[in-house]
């Protein structure tokens, strides 16, 4: 007997309100990324040797760095490079991964075997090494970051979509569709895809968080955009030698990254809970 468990908890309302905070944070950064030239108090690239290492205070709310550049302005300007890279990388990884996983899981057979072996090999490949090598090979540009990060997501997304497809594929409603002669595209798009959309959505939000993570990390490693860009990761990396002198120069971009990745993670977790509750 299925027990009427405590699934319908009264705190869903409280939860959904708490879920608004991450959305607000993400929207805020999106607005900043779009409009930062109108929002920054100073030119983020402007060097002023008279105000080097100024601690946070009036005039420079988050202080200044070794060149006397305004940290707040640089943090605001640093939102764009991340947000320009992460969503397209996610879209690339999720779209390609879903297509591969759905086709592979529906068709099965030798095609599936080959695809899975290739994905296995790619998955085992250490991502960081691959990223270092690829970027060394292809040069530093947002497009390269999008390609590298997106490509790294393809096997992950493909495997989880394939797993979900295999589960659905074994269900009688798919057998019934095959018995009445539905063609393969119809099986995939009409029958299976709508029923694995939760998996795809959860993958998309999870990968978005990972993409921000990866973009920030690549930037920290000096593999993001060319030097001089106000990227958050690069700012942490460039200023870490001044950690003891001017911790704010490191802390401010670090916390900016933290706020964005945590917001995305909480949003994707909330989404996952909602989809799984159904």
């Amino acid at each position: 007997m299925s027990s009427p468990g405590p699934s319908a908890r009264p705190r869903t309302a409280a939860r959904s309100r708490a879920g608004l905070v991450p959305v607000a944070v993400i929207l805020l950064w999106a607005v900043v990324a779009a409009l930062w030239p109108h929002l920054v108090p100073h030119d983020p690239a402007l060097q002023d040797p008279t105000v080097r290492f100024r601690p946070p205070g009036p005039g420079h709310w988050l202080g200044t760095d070794q060149f006397g550049r305004d940290v707040l302005s640089r943090v605001l300007a640093g939102a764009r490079p991340v947000l320009v890279v992460a969503p397209p990388a996610t879209a690339l990884g999720v779209l390609a991964g879903t297509a591969v996983g759905l086709i592979s899981g529906t068709v099965r057979g030798w095609f599936d075997d080959i695809v899975m072996r290739v994905l296995d090999a790619v998955m085992v490949f250490p991502t960081v090494i691959a990223a270092v090598l690829f970027i060394a090979l292809l040069g530093r540009s947002p497009l390269v970051v999008v390609l590298v990060v997106g490509a790294a997501f393809v096997p992950i997304v493909a495997r989880s979509v394939r797993a979900a497809t295999l589960v659905e594929r074994e269900k009688p409603y798919v057998d019934a569709a095959r018995l009445r002669g539905e063609p393969l595209p119809s099986l995939m798009v009409r029958e299976i895809l709508p029923n694995i959309r939760a998996t795809v959505l959860v993958e998309a939000t999870t990968r978005l968080g990972d993409a921000v993570f990866a973009a920030a990390t690549l930037s920290f490693l000096g593999l993001g955009q060319p030097p001089g860009s106000p990227e958050w990761g690069a700012a942490v990396s460039d200023n870490r030698v001044w950690l003891q002198v001017a911790p704010w120069t490191v802390l401010a971009p670090a916390l900016a990254i933290g706020s964005l990745v945590v917001a995305v993670a909480l949003l994707s977790d909330a989404l996952r809970h909602r989809l799984e509750a159904r």
Binding site: M1, S2, S3, P4, G5, P6, A8, K171, P172, Y173, D175, A176, A177, R178, L179, R180, G181, E182, R190, E191, P194, N195, R197
Partner: protein
């Protein structure tokens, strides 16, 4: 102090929803009390509450449970723990889930004994002895649960009861999901257990037949209320409450096909949990309800029938179905002379990897004929169904359909050919695409199967409420989903519909409605069925002919009556339930002899284990794969003991 179990006005709820409402009964030591009910009626909650356990979210809202005078629900946690060690023991349906997968079986049993104060060594020795007493070999103690079969695991659970020597034993669906032969064995052990421990026993089940045979007294639970309780024979023979009568009249009986005893399904469906109505909970589905029934809940009536308690204003007034005992011979559809059979299966072999599932199966189905296929789980029933449907193509053997070769794989069947063979599946929850509303499911089926009528006409033909068409499968009950699935399979003009356990996931009252629907569709269209079930009574209700599958081999095939009553294969005899099979031994390694050899009561050593038995025609059209002389084959009178409707 009262010896035994006393349940007084016990109530429980999940959140605001009442699941048990003032349930009262008493069980004396040595007595067995059966609790019968369909899913969602509160059986499981009641069972756990007897051990002082509430499932997550559950609340005890009133009443008492006393065992030998101890008020269980008033004990503090430490006291409850101490009481449970010797006070109560449970046997659940899911023995696999009740055993820790990472601990050896012997260690788990020893743990129970050590809780009773035994030392480590003594507990281990006693555990082995207990396993021996439930007819498990001594080395079973060193096995992990997953290395045992379902029946063996259930025996370990029974050994656990023996270890605890409790005052109260709660058996919650102890044999559901076990195969017929194993089931007889487990029930036999349970009967001995009862005799030995002299404990109060509560047997919870959805199976009326089982409860009728093994209980002294019975309570019928409906929507959390005990609607009727009293002596088992009386209640099952002459029910007073309309719900009890409805349950009995919707359960098929072995040896009573549809033309002899037509089932009467209960209308409507179980009230949603927590739904409240001022009157009787059964009024909405009751055939004899009157105005008074909907205004106030009937009180427990102890005088209407002596020795019984009934919660009904009009006890004993519900109309009953009667069996027409006719001498009418089987109305088997005889194929027109010269016409090929609709479906011919020859030497079909199917498997998964190296495991053979079907071994040279031969089967024919005539146009318009209903062939029942029975066998225990793992016998290959579903594989055979899927092979015929073209969903499992890898393997050898020939298929012919209406005289022409039928390609093994769906992909190689022409669209026109595909439309002639459709399928109805077991699990109502996955049989429909959950993201499409019912009308779209049917519309798509009509389009692809070239069905003539519109969605509304199709729905009407299968008695599907118009208002259900706009719903998605998630908003339908199990019976409604299965009805949509049947409608879908009849969207075109199928000549063969393969029904793979179409009613086994449904409750008795819903099951009857589905069997009736299938029967009506067949009468209307003349479609043939391959009807698969593990339940012989269900198969016997609809089938013209019956085929019996045992571990991938078709051991018997013939007209329904003789196959079920005999002379039949010794294996079929165990399915019908009269002969408990011997405990199964490991399978034959060489596989040269009869696969049933190890469990057969009539085996001929030196013959059956060496030579594969031939398929012999025991009677015209009735084939049995056995070395025994047709005259020596067992015969079985159906042993159904329920009720006065016995033919």
């Amino acid at each position: 102090m009262t010896a035994g179990l006393r349940v007084e006005a016990l109530s429980a709820a999940y959140g605001p929803a009442t699941v048990l409402h003032e349930v009262s009964f008493a069980v004396t030591p040595g007595e067995t009390f059966g609790v019968v009910g369909e899913s969602g009626c509160g059986k499981t909650t009641l069972g756990y509450l007897l051990g002082g356990h509430l499932q997550p979210g559950g609340r005890h809202t009133g009443g008492r449970v006393t065992v030998d005078g101890t008020d269980i629900l008033a004990l503090d946690p430490a006291g409850l723990r101490r009481w449970r060690r010797t006070g109560v023991a449970f046997v659940h349906q899911d023995a696999a889930g009740a055993l820790d997968p990472t601990m050896r079986v012997g260690t788990q049993l020893a743990e129970v004994l050590r809780l009773r104060g035994l030392g480590r060594g003594a507990a281990a020795a006693e555990a082995t002895e207990l396993l021996r007493r439930v007819r498990l070999p001594g080395e079973a103690a060193r096995r992990y649960p997953h290395q045992l079969s379902g029946g063996q695991r259930q025996r370990v659970m029974i050994a656990g009861v023996l270890a605890a020597r409790p005052r109260l034993i709660v058996l919650d669906e102890p044999t559901t999901g076990l195969d017929a032969a194993v089931r007889a064995d487990v029930l036999d052990l349970l009967a001995r257990l009862r005799a030995e421990l002299a404990a109060a026993v509560v047997l919870i089940s959805h199976d009326l037949d089982l409860v009728g045979r093994h209980c002294d007294r019975v309570g019928v639970l409906y929507a959390g209320r005990l609607v009727e309780s009293g002596p088992a024979a009386g209640i099952l023979g002459d029910p007073a409450h309309p719900y009890t009568a409805g349950l009995l009249d919707s359960a098929p009986r072995l040896g009573m096909p549809r033309r002899v005893r037509r089932l009467a399904p209960i209308a409507g469906r179980l009230p949603v949990l927590g739904a409240t109505s001022p009157g009787c909970v059964f009024a909405a589905r009751c055939p004899v309800a009157e105005a008074a029934c909907t205004t106030a809940e009937p009180a427990l009536d102890e005088r209407a029938v002596p020795g019984r308690v009934v919660r009904c204003l009009r006890p004993g007034t519900a109309p009953r179905i009667t069996a027409e005992v006719t001498s009418q011979t089987a109305a088997t559809v005889r194929p027109e002379p010269g016409q090929p059979p609709l479906l011919e299966v020859r030497g079909l072999v199917r498997g998964y990897g190296d495991t053979a599932v079907l071994d040279h199966v031969d089967l024919t189905i005539g146009a318009g004929e209903v062939v029942g296929l029975v066998g225990e789980s793992g016998s290959g029933k579903t594989t055979l169904a899927r092979a015929i449907a073209g969903l499992h193509a890898e393997g050898t053997g020939q298929l012919r359909f209406a005289g022409a070769a039928l390609p093994a794989g769906l992909r190689r069947r022409s669209p026109a050919l595909r439309r002639r063979i459709q399928m109805v599946f077991q699990d109502p929850d996955t049989t429909l695409n959950p993201s499409q509303p019912v009308w779209r499911i049917l519309k798509r089926a009509l389009r692809t199967l070239r069905g003539k009528p519109g969605v509304a006409a199709l729905a009407a033909r299968t008695r599907l409420d118009e208002e259900l068409l706009r719903r998605r499968p998630g908003q339908l009950s199990g019976g409604q989903k299965q009805r949509v699935a049947i409608a879908r399979s009849f969207a075109g003009a199928p000549e063969l519909v393969i029904c793979d356990e179409p009613v086994s996931a449904l409750d008795v009252s819903v099951q009857a409605a589905m069997l009736e629907l299938l029967a009506e569709q067949r009468e209307r269209t003349g479609t043939a069925y391959l009807f698969i079930s593990h339940d012989l009574a269900v198969v016997g209700y609809l089938a013209d002919r019956v085929a019996v599958l045992y571990r991938g081999v078709l051991v018997e095939q013939g007209p329904a009556g003789p196959v079920l009553a005999g002379p039949h294969h010794p294996y079929t005899a165990t399915l019908v339930g009269a002969a408990p099979s011997e405990p199964s031994q490991p399978a034959l390694v060489n596989g040269a002899g009869c696969l049933f050899f190890h469990a057969c009561a009539r085996r001929i050593a030196g013959l059956c284990d060496v030579t594969a038995p031939p398929l012999a025609e025991a009677e015209p059209g009735h084939f049995v794969r056995c070395h025994l002389d047709p005259a020596a084959l067992p015969r079985t009178e159906p042993t159904t003991s329920i009720g006065g409707v016995r033919a």
